[in-house]
């Protein structure tokens, strides 16, 4: 995690290095949108749980590596104050074939949204407001849980 912005090109280069076993790289970038709940967002502040956040992101990447065949995976998440148009998070996955990279990437974001200890606070013209978790994120992550056999 870091406060500074990340550079996709550099992160991509570092991820693939000289691994010629990589046939596919998928990148997800989450950004600060202008509107949430129909008010103008002036700024977004990301708080986190130092110590746990790193463990949580590593755990999410490790889970993805167990479930899919990945050559490499990386998560970069910014914290602190950000503005509309800024980048918040990067998830990179690299695999031999694209199916694994796509699915692992989606999985990692779904888990990050529901398990990683970050909290967003919006600064609007009317003042600050903490963002509430979305039900759609809970539904998204549920699809990765195997249904118990009856």
């Amino acid at each position: 995690m870091q406060t500074e912005d990340f550079d996709l090109r550099l992160e991509h280069q570092q991820l693939i290095q000289n691994d010629h076993g990589i046939g596919a790289v998928v990148a997800f970038i989450g950004m600060v949108r202008d509107l949430n709940l129909a008010d103008d967002v002036v700024a977004l502040e990301l708080e986190h749980y130092p110590g746990m956040t790193e463990k949580s992101l590593i755990n999410i990447a490790q889970q993805a590596e167990k479930r899919w065949s990945l050559q490499a995976a990386r998560i970069v998440h910014r914290v602190g104050k950000m503005y509309p148009g800024d980048q918040i998070v990067l998830v990179l996955t690299a695999s031999a074939h694209r199916g694994d990279a796509y699915e692992a990437n989606t999985f990692m974001m779904d888990y990050l949204k529901t398990e990683a200890p970050f909290w967003k606070k919006e600064w609007t013209p009317e003042g600050p407001r903490w963002i509430e978790a979305r039900e759609s994120d809970d539904s998204a992550v549920a699809r990765w849980t195997e249904k118990p056999s009856s």
Binding site: Y49, M52, H77, V89, F118, W119, K121, W130, A133
Partner: protein, 85 residues
Amino acid sequence: MRLKVLYFAQLREKFGLAEESVQAPDSVRTVADLMQHLGARGGVWQETLGGHLAFRVAMNQEMVSQQTALLDGAEVAIFRPVTGG
């Protein structure tokens, strides 16, 4: 048991407290017990923790459930559902 309890985001602002050392009586064994114990302080504690809001809890930096048994000396963090990404 003695616990190091941390509050994040909305909870920290509501309680005006980022962390505290809690000496919990023997009757406090699970996460749910701890939430009740803190709510019993009344006022904003009761309003916030005793209501219908959902909370997540981490013990020693791993997410746990309300039924999880507390460990003596553990770091327990309480917060609203996460909103990263």
